[in-house]
Amino acid sequence: MLEQAPDLSTMAGWLPLAFMLIMGLAILAYVILDGFDLGVGLLLQLGNEEQKDTMIASIGPFWDANETWLVLGIGILLVAFPVAHGVVLGALYLPVALMLVGLTLRGVAFDFRVKAKDEHKATWDFTFFAGSLLASLAQGFMLGRVVTGFTQDLWSYLFACLIALGMASGYALLGSTWLIIKTAGDLQRHAIVWAKRSIVLLAAGVAAVSVATPFVSQRIYEKWFGLENLIVLWPIPAMTVVTFLIAYRSLSRLPERLDQDRHDSEWIPFASTVAIFMLAFHGLAYSLFPYLVMDKLTIWEAAAAPESLLFIFVGAIIVLPVIIGYSVFAYRVFRGKATDLSYY
């Protein structure tokens, strides 16, 4: 897979690789972190007035920083692979705009719902839901377009729509399993039901996408079904199946355990959902590497000048651990069940 790479001991060789790794981690962090708060947005309309407040409170202190990972991911695409940024975002022009409108609507609805007049609250709640849905679907659609290398035919577009639905189901699962951790009582019981529905949808989606992907891209087909690869790669789908089973089983048993006032396994559905996302991401990354635009543009062809990359890299390896450190601190400050948000 490294045959297109220049000498990896040179800066022009290893720096693009390092930045691809950082960008991958940033996007994965974004998908999981903003994924759970987008997911809570998708589910918002299912709760009653009081439950809505609690659902919002469960993501209140986090959503802002979660979205910053998107800015980092896109920022690295922009600064480390400037050529690809133009090609990719130019090709995704409309879905990007729709995603941005969705993210904007939900971001502001979050604030307006409690600050605007009471009679407008329902409207802002709906806006929060609709914005979350729009952003989730747009992100899935964009992923689908990237996988097919922006091919302009009906099947590719249908494939992208399929991934859009899968993405929304995945976010709903992340959101509902997050609520299982952060809430109690009726809302928690509802969240278990929502999670069970989402996981079935997601499993169907992942299965369909896995079957369809090799057919929409010849290169991905060769990568996964070449004989030597088949042996090395089978653990990825196998582990995905196992993780799904763990999550489903844990969800099925949870109500009974809660009846017995046992809360020690509340985190298992969320953790296994995160594992599913990581495995799917890994498989996807393997399929695409080393291309940023499928079959057209590799990370080395798209990279910025080595001296500029080095200047950012030095900053990134110093600052990123600090960011991760204080992010963990912030999550620890707000650990435990969500309580009403209050400024004082």
């Binding site: 209140g60 600064v79 705009a97 409108v101 600050k115 900053g315 400050v333």
Partner: protein, 459 residues
């Protein structure tokens, strides 16, 4: 101008004009909130905490709008201006990356603790979180203004095969116009906030909601505005002289000077006409432009004619500049009048209060007109002398751009309306909560108490 170019420019202008409104409030408001908090820590006087409690709501709302509109900005470069990153990506990239790494995460993460962590962390930690949010917002301004300034006065780089490569990062960051622009913009932020605070405080006083917190806030706003406005005018003059040195075409457009001349007049009013290269209905003060720009009545000032095919459109720059200066002068008069009557009579007459309410968002007008002056003044270049705007635009079909532009404009119109009305609603609501419950953190039955308890159910 091609359709894609015109529409992309309009879209970028719409996005950045909308975006800049909110950071211009949150940058200075973060420091003001810190000031309220520190005053409370030092004196224990409840009024400072009450002021904090009210303004933190405005801050949270403003911050959210700044974040979401900022995300849009980070996509714009790739979707509409691929040529920008292709040509100067090696310079712009690291500056943007450092903004995300050192500022965005810092402010976004500690914002959660600053807003909702009051009961969960120690008072000391909460103060530290507030400091970090304030530092984050200002750091963000530092990096983005370094990039903007570099686009005006590029330095510390060389061109290889049509692509810019950095030769000195210190020269890139501290390029010739950076210091002036940074100070001018930061002061603009503090003035925007000063008038926002005075406006909303005046609004509450007019509604007979005269609590110690409201009076203290008004006082802080007045002192900020009355002292910083003259400093801002002085700084603006220095910034202008710096522009004359590095971007003379922009200054010629600001002053509507079509021909190079000695003893150039100051055009107070006129309709610049690009066709005839002259001003119609001009009202001029002879020799004054020369005096202001060269400090000599007979000094030579370069005119538009010196920069064929490389000068900005005159009328928009000329008018934006006058709107900015007019806003500044009005700010000076209003803040001094308010300070004078507070000092002399310890109260502000109703007429003046009404004037302050009208000027609640006057900072936005000053900021936008100043921004248009400098940014339109840089045209036809995207990076002065290095990259023309027309050469950086996308090949996305004009129809798509028109569609998204319409979408953004509609969204922004709704959001600005909602923002302004909710800010005033918060001010009215604060008054009601204050008069019906003496305890600001009242718990118990009733709509108001519930509203207070779940305030920000949000964020």
């Amino acid at each position: 101008m091609s359709d894609a170019l015109l529409l992309s420019r309009l879209q970028f202008a719409a996005n950045i004009s909308f975006h800049i409104l909110f950071p211009m409030i949150s940058i200075a408001l973060a420091w003001v909130l810190l000031f309220f908090k520190l005053r409370f820590n030092a004196t224990g006087d409840e009024k400072w905490m009450n002021a904090y409690r009210f303004w933190v709501k405005v801050f949270a709302l403003t911050f959210a709008l700044g974040v979401v509109s900022g995300i849009t900005m980070s996509f714009q470069f790739g979707t509409n201006w691929p040529g920008f990153m292709n040509t100067v990506g090696n310079i712009a990239g690291p500056l943007l990356a450092y903004e995300v790494l050192t500022a965005f995460f810092l402010e976004a993460t500690f914002l959660g603790i600053m807003l909702f962590g009051f009961k969960r962390v120690s008072n000391r930690m909460h103060t530290i979180a507030t400091v970090l949010v304030a530092v984050g917002t200002s750091l963000s301004a530092f990096w983005i203004l370094a990039l903007v300034s570099w686009m005006h006065t590029p330095a510390g780089f060389e061109m290889r095969d049509g692509v810019a490569h950095a030769t000195s990062w210190m020269e890139v960051i501290f390029n010739p116009s950076f210091g002036y622009r940074m100070i001018h913009t930061m002061l603009a932020s503090f003035l925007t906030v000063a008038f926002l605070i005075m406006g909303l405080s005046a609004y509450r006083i007019l509604r007979n909601d005269v609590t110690p917190a409201v009076r203290a806030s008004l006082g802080v706003g007045v002192i900020m505005a009355a002292t910083l406005t003259p400093v801002q005018i002085f700084t603006g003059d220095l910034h202008g002289l710096n522009t004359l040195e590095h971007q003379p075409a922009k200054v010629a457009a600001m002053e509507a000077l079509w021909e190079t001349e000695r003893g150039a007049p100051l055009v107070l009013f006129g309709l610049p006409d690009a066709e005839s290269q002259s001003n119609r209905f001009a009202v001029e003060l002879p020799g004054m432009a020369s005096l202001i720009l060269t400090h000599d009545m007979q000094g030579e000032v370069k005119g538009i004619n010196e920069f064929p095919d490389a000068h900005p459109p005159v009328a928009p720059v000329f008018w934006s500049f006058r709107v900015m200066v007019g806003t500044g002068v009005l700010m000076l008069l209003m803040s001094w009048a308010t300070a004078w009557s507070l000092r002399r009579k310890n109260r502000v007459p109703p007429l003046l209060l009404k004037g302050l309410v009208v000027m609640t968002f006057s900072g936005w007008i000053g900021v936008l007109s100043g921004w248009y002056t400098t940014e339109i003044g840089r045209q036809p270049f995207l990076v002065t002398g290095v990259l023309r705007t027309a050469d950086a635009v996308t090949s996305v079909p004009a129809g798509n751009i028109g569609l998204t532009l319409a979408l953004y404009l509609l969204l922004y119109a709704v959001l600005i309306t909602a923002y302004v009305s909710v800010v005033f609603y918060l001010a009215r609501q604060a008054g009601q909560a204050g008069s019906k419950t003496s305890e600001p953190t009242a718990h118990g039955p009733g709509v108001l108490a519930r509203k207070a308890a779940t305030e920000g159910g949000h964020a």
